[in-house]
Symmetry: C2
Subunit: 122 residues, 2 copies
Amino acid sequence: MTIVPKPLPALADTSPICCPPLGTDAQLGRQDAVELAVRLKALADPVRLQLVAHLVGAPDWEACTCDLAPVVGLTEGTVSHHLKQLSQAGLVTKRRDGMNVWYRLVPEALTAISRTLDPGCC
Amino acid sequence: MTIVPKPLPALADTSPICCPPLGTDAQLGRQDAVELAVRLKALADPVRLQLVAHLVGAPDWEACTCDLAPVVGLTEGTVSHHLKQLSQAGLVTKRRDGMNVWYRLVPEALTAISRTLDPGCC
DNA sequence: CTACATATTTGACATACGTCAAGAAGGTGG
DNA sequence: CCACCTTCTTGACGTATGTCAAATATGTAG
């Protein structure tokens, strides 16, 4: 079974998942677990973490591919591949401006994942 | 290059990583990124998320393999494999008691990861 | 239209991952 | 010692992942 790149529901929609997954009464059904895993998987790579970290420090949380490739020292093709994964997970948005494509971090996405994981939350 | 199962530094040691990785001034070096990725990868799987969620709801955050296997509906061997990964990532500890092996969640580990990810933190 | 610059996709490759069945290890009780 | 229970490891299998080089798209400027 190949993973169809079906668009994930907007991260705002998953806020109910916040805490429940690791909360006391929720059993975290298979479906929720898969969704959360998809988002975590997008983050669970050294290269993508460095990309995200760079975006956090970038002005307006934004950078183009040509800026990001040198940061991680990989081919632009490979970086594009990673950015696509981050984008599909809803962690960044892309925007074309002339020859450049700018990727911007979606901080709420990170916050949502963060809250979901914290057992002390809520 | 195979990933040697070198024991990760205790999670408490990574608290300095909290926020910095996604904080404003830190560039998140390659090494830190790899470490954080290892921990996130341990969580980035539906089965392991369900196991963790079950532990959160379990009395004393503890359960044995025989209890956990039915939760995810997989072979005990497979579940053992997943628990090993969680253990190596420092997310759970294991303890033998007679014939049973009890796995206990390390909530600080989850909290540490959670704080590290939250861009609004600190 | 042509030349160039940035970005993405494709194809190929090696490696890592999740799963099971079967066997081995660790522990209990006759 | 033997039978049994729980857990872990091993070997095998298919699939997913990260990477590059090369080809293709997308956009700008002569």
